[in-house]
């Protein structure tokens, strides 16, 4: 009788990449529900489009690279990329936006660099930046939170808008984005920076309907809280470590705190920073992408701090209202340097405990 030969260790923790990814999907659910509630069901349509595109692109790449196509189905990184991109873009954006973005993320950002684990840049964020630069109008056209909207949008309207650009009743997106006050609505961050640039004080700028019930703007605050909740669950079940989110939030909020001490009238303030835009989605779901983050725990903390700081700088002085995507890509470029200087000291090489 012959016995099986295998290399140690023979025991293995029963948590595979698939299981990790399942946790990530589940942790996204609170955020998705909130997003659907405030901004309509567009996000689900976008996710379906993104998933379809991601799978097709993934399979095509695997086939072109002579790999087994079935392995692509097992690899969930493309799925996560697609979902994050779909969540990040305005939920009523035309269909080709998400298709172009996802295809670019998967084909260029991931596979051209060598596939899973090899890419330097966060695929979802690289796709997002490509879209933002190429199609700035569509990419900033966030729908109005439903309680502030002049018109309400049904599911079939949503699909119509995404695929044809017009709702059932024949309104286009710009018309639908009129707020109750009849003015086209910008996102809270957008509106704030425009107003601050026009030398309004923060209290004047936030004296708008969109800020009426929650800091960070109606909808956005709840959305961020929902992603925060999902993110905390991920830390609890040890799918992500706390280092990157904590670093990013610190890097963003500490400077914001200082700014609001010294220039209370012209600065946004930490709470608004924390609860608006893509802050929480970025901190817990995007920046934590393991492939493109720093390696060691200390490195991850620095990586997070850098992203947070960059978000703060770009939001405060930069040309774009939100900055998570740019900050993440910039930090991705610095990862090799961070890794070089934060390599843990191996046992017996004179390190402290």
């Amino acid at each position: 009788m012959s016995f099986k030969i295998a290399a140690s260790p023979h025991a293995h923790q029963r948590r595979t990449t698939q299981q990790v990814m399942r946790w990530v999907y589940m942790a996204l659910i609170p955020g998705l529900l909130v997003q659907s509630y405030f901004f309509g069901l567009g996000v689900w349509v976008q996710m379906l489009l993104a998933l379809g595109t991601a799978w097709l692109s993934e399979a095509a790449c695997m086939a072109l690279r002579g790999r087994s196509v079935s392995q692509a189905w097992q690899d969930h990184t493309a799925v996560v990329t697609a979902l994050l991109l779909a969540i990040s873009i305005p939920s009523l954006a035309p269909w080709w936006i998400i298709v172009i973005g996802t295809a670019f993320s998967v084909i260029v950002v991931k596979h051209v660099y060598g596939g899973v684990g090899q890419n330097l840049f966060n695929p979802a964020m690289a796709g997002y930046v490509l879209l933002l630069i190429s199609f700035p109008v569509q990419m900033t056209a966030w729908p109005v939170p439903q309680e502030l909207a002049l018109y309400s949008i049904s599911l079939s309207d949503t699909a119509q808008l995404i695929f044809t650009g017009f709702s059932n009743a024949g309104y286009n997106l710009e018309q639908l984005r009129l707020g109750i006050d009849g003015v086209t609505m910008a996102t809270p961050l957008d509106s704030l920076r425009t107003d601050l640039a026009q030398a309004l004080t923060v209290s004047e700028a936030t004296n708008k309907a969109m800020f009426s019930s929650a800091l960070g703007g109606i909808g956005w605050a709840w959305l961020n809280l929902a992603f925060l909740l999902g993110g905390l669950v991920l830390i609890k079940v040890r799918v992500i470590s706390w280092h990157i989110p904590a670093g990013m939030l610190l890097g963003l909020l500490v400077p914001a705190l200082f700014m609001s001490w010294f220039y209370p009238d012209q600065s946004v303030g930490p709470l608004l920073h924390a609860l608006s835009g893509a802050t929480m989605l970025g901190a817990f779901f995007i920046a934590t992408d393991p492939v493109t983050a720093a390696t060691s725990n200390r490195g991850r903390l620095y990586f997070g701090l850098l992203i947070g700081l960059l978000v703060f700088i770009i939001r405060t002085w930069g040309g774009y209202p939100d900055a998570v995507a740019f900050a993440v890509l910039l930090a991705n470029m610095v990862v090799p340097v961070i890794d070089k200087y934060t390599q843990p000291i191996a046992y017996g090489h004179g390190g402290k405990l």
């Binding site: 023979h10 046992y347 017996g348």
Partner: protein, 533 residues
Amino acid sequence: MSIPITLIEQGQIWSFPGGIHPPQRKQLSNTTPIATLPLASEFYLPLRQHAGEPGELLVSVGDHVLKGQAVSAPGLNNALPVHAPTSGTIIAIEARPIAHPSGLADTVVVLSADGLDQAAQPQPHSLSSDRTQLIDALRQAGIAGLGGAGFPTAQKLALQRPLEYLIINGVECEPYISADDRLMREYADEILRGTEILMHISGAAKALIALEDNKPDAIDAFKRVLPKYPAMSLRVVPTKYPSGGEKQLIQLLTGHQVPSRGLPSDIGLLMHNVGTAYAVHQAIDLGLPLTQRVVTVTGENVSKPGNYWVPLGTPVAHLLAHAGFKPEQAQKVIMGGPMMGFTLGNLQVPVVKITNCLLVPGAQELSPPADEMPCIRCGACADVCPAQLLPQQLQWLAKANDYDGLNKQNLFDCIECGACAYVCPSEIPLVHYYRKAKAEIREIAREKSKSEVARERFEARKQRLEREKQERLERHRLAAEARQQAQQQAVEQGAPNPNDAVQAAIARAKARKAAQAAAAEQAAAAEPQDDNP
């Protein structure tokens, strides 16, 4: 950098980075007392069961040996003797498969037991003997570290360095294994007596007995006998794998790290396993050489899991059969634990000094192997690495055969604990890659040193020949000068003087002699040179 004695004396326990908590599954084997095993009919005694060279053979085929009689002698390069585990006849001395991850064959003495189990006269020693005598007694008893590394105990003790603490390692952190646990529960006093002997020989004034908090019975057993041994104290460390690793345990107990490529004695420490301490007691107090050890037999596919006193050399098949082994399709037989053990392809290999466990898991017991997926850089491996390495980086470098990079990333500080591979969600057999890379790097180093030695020899020979040639030329030159001088003298002094003729003759003879000597030199030089520098 010296260890913080005051804090250690206060009983402080430090921590080490990383580590994992795999399911323990020790209850499978640790609830019954250590059982004795009926004698096998044949024993296979590999001459090399320890870290070092095999000892020189003392027996030949046909010899009758008694239990405890040495079949090989201690010697240079850490050679340790091996003893007959029972009485019987040597029926063969041949290359046979031994228990080694490579499955390679090595020299094995085959003993056919006569069933009488007659023992040789034991030779106890007293602690009043000279230190070197005691060390020699341990060497003669064939004692090697029973914790797994198999380093000769005598060799470890022979290093004469000032020591603060002797650490007795009863941590046994690897899942399933309970051999040390049972030994501590049943022989706590003997272990501490062995510890006392080890302290006496090594000169360590204090000893720490370390074990994990998952062994409450063993802790109680020690607590009962410790009052007899005031220089020893108990240290209970939290259960975490691999806290029983020498380096990790030292970090737990002292807060300090053993320098890379250094020894615990560099920071005033010496560590021995509880099994070793027991064997030391047996060898010194009772005069019994190392011929048996406790082995855990466990896993779902044995009906009588537990611990056994197993005579060294017992075939694995005999031990498993006795424990009620029911093999299934594609059965794995693991020697050692699930984290660091290796699989056996052949059950006729013997139990040796470093065998602490045989694990025969059911098909679903340990997670079935899965396909290796690409690394997603999740960093889980780096989080658990107790050596603070970057396993995923090592993996990439190993796959790329980047040996310089591997050295820079301190591959050789990897203790092969397997924690990284245990957590890797992509199921990458990381340790397998490291082992392969280490073997290749060692091989390259060996080749290099071989060619280095050859080159040095060649250079030395060239230099010697060159030197000899120069000396020869110098002698020739001197001889020629002497000849010339003699001739010149003859010419200067003119022919008519009869004395001159004599003088000339003398000079000629001198010159001829010199020339002859030179010729002889030349002839000698032309003879083949011997190559040894």
